[in-house]
Symmetry: C2
Subunit: 379 residues, 2 copies
Amino acid sequence: MPGPLEGVLVVDLTRVLAGPFATMMMADLGARVIKVERPGTGDDSRGYGPYVEGRSMYFARVNRGKESVALDLKDPANRSVLDELVDRADVLVENFRPGVMDRLGLGPETLRARNPGLVYCSISGFGQTGPLRGRQAYDTVVQAASGLMSVTGFPGGPPVKPGAPFGDLSAALYAFGAICAALVDRHRTGRGARIDIAMFDCLVSLVEGAGLYWLADGTDPGPIGNAHYSITPFDAFSAADRQIIICAANDELFGRLLAAMGREDLAEMPQYASNLSRTQHRDLLKDELEGTLRKRQADDWLALLTRAGVPCGPISTIAEALGSEQTEQRHMVVTVDGWRQPGNPMKSDRTQEPVGSGPAPDLDEQGAALRREFGRPAQ
Amino acid sequence: MPGPLEGVLVVDLTRVLAGPFATMMMADLGARVIKVERPGTGDDSRGYGPYVEGRSMYFARVNRGKESVALDLKDPANRSVLDELVDRADVLVENFRPGVMDRLGLGPETLRARNPGLVYCSISGFGQTGPLRGRQAYDTVVQAASGLMSVTGFPGGPPVKPGAPFGDLSAALYAFGAICAALVDRHRTGRGARIDIAMFDCLVSLVEGAGLYWLADGTDPGPIGNAHYSITPFDAFSAADRQIIICAANDELFGRLLAAMGREDLAEMPQYASNLSRTQHRDLLKDELEGTLRKRQADDWLALLTRAGVPCGPISTIAEALGSEQTEQRHMVVTVDGWRQPGNPMKSDRTQEPVGSGPAPDLDEQGAALRREFGRPAQ
């Protein structure tokens, strides 16, 4: 099955993670993605671990299913291959620092004048506009700048970076969505688009609860551990042996929780009568609940609460999560060219399962064929 | 400007966050989104804070620009309105527990038989298949199940939930992208799609570095604080007064960092000669760098490193991030109907800036008009 993006030609001028992840999603869904790399060393991420048999698994995952051509963008012969690629492409994605594409003569005005249907997407740390536009940015710089690290962790503790690079990854996801929306628009209007994705904007849009409180009343919320800014009880709670997650997100679920725990006494107390009031008395309620939860083992509570219809669960390790039966049945670990990788979560009856991408390319692996396909006759 | 999804009609049967965030993205880009709510109380999130003037800002943000109709799906007259809506819709999004839509007679086979072009997207905690499909799930249950909490925080410390609800939000972003890709496919083939997004799958696809190490060699990595699994130095470092972020993601940037710090001596040491080797000696290198960084103030280092072209930055609070000049110039805080909200990060010359959505609807606010528009004559 070719996938929903069959027939879409993507010129991929991206490196490291945010850009390559976005174009991997396009390849997973059937687009043809041609990765243009710097001659000699190629994408920096070819040097990022983990390594298996001398190959970077970091690179292999986010570049699966792509073709690679090494082009020196300042060399005229190489450049004519790129020009032809760009003129025939549906989508161009780049994640250079703002200004670099213009200096290379590859700015959006130039390329869209030649190919008006082109969807031209830039991904950068802080965007193409604003006082911080020129700042060099990698994931952690932006996770820190967005306020996200300041609201991850425990009150009084140090700022914490989430265990996944959400600065890069959220930009990849937003870029993928914006590109596909632009392709929908182009089908209707014939017009391409100039898309400008900033990792900083993406995280600002996602800090959600903490951000909403500041916007509502100027309260800088700070971290609240594993609790929820707006919903209570919704947290990690200590049982006798270890922590479990309980999410009682409305009055009905809260009632079920209290009944299952034999703590109906709490239902009588006015401070726990509504979600809003429970959230105002979050710490007090947690102490009350843990007073009971600590009397039994986590597994006992999970079985009991699950039977009672209360959303709950264990805190899994990576091995438990990725090695689970659920992960296997959902094809969320796949084997591409002999190596295990995370699969494609966009499950659809129009998309091949498990993801059918080929392996990531060696540097310039399809270079000779692509130079023939996109070569222009000498002038 | 109407936006790239102009003309797309979305029936929105979602509640709380993952689903409503996905359909908010569609509304921000110009789709018409009709939110079907339970009569009486409507979406649970109408009861989630923060509140301003008696209105939930949580609800107001993720439901901006939508129309609301309250329908009892078990009542025949109400049901005929929904049936007509579904027959005319381009997209349906729902986030009930797996099985509920089928029991309501609204399963994908039924609806797609009547409307073959329909893009039918389900969002759930663990997906429509697999042993955990029936599990009730809210964000924290899935953040814990995916392994993400186990790799957030410091070695030896408790598991930490990232400060934003990435279980819901990553599902929203993947759903939005998958829906738009399906609309591209439909333009070409005339066929709709049946999309199945699981919050669990989404996070499994994003645990990235930690997941790749486990997949590569079975090492369950555990949390590594603010460091990076694959790149070094790439962390929060202590200066004399507070922490700063430094990301030297390749040999050239590492060389610049050492030169700017006057620590060229480290460049001579074989254990720091490559990114791979630096990552194997991460703690040792951090001690060396902090030995020097602690001698000066954070602001001094940030100025010096920025001049030297080393990616770096401060750790901002939410107030600093959302109140910044960059955020303002990028329209990442917008005022909708008098209330401040995060803006739309999918910047494009085909999308209105700042986001032009109307306010979130009161329960059944457009109910009368929608019953007229989609009412069927009595049989």
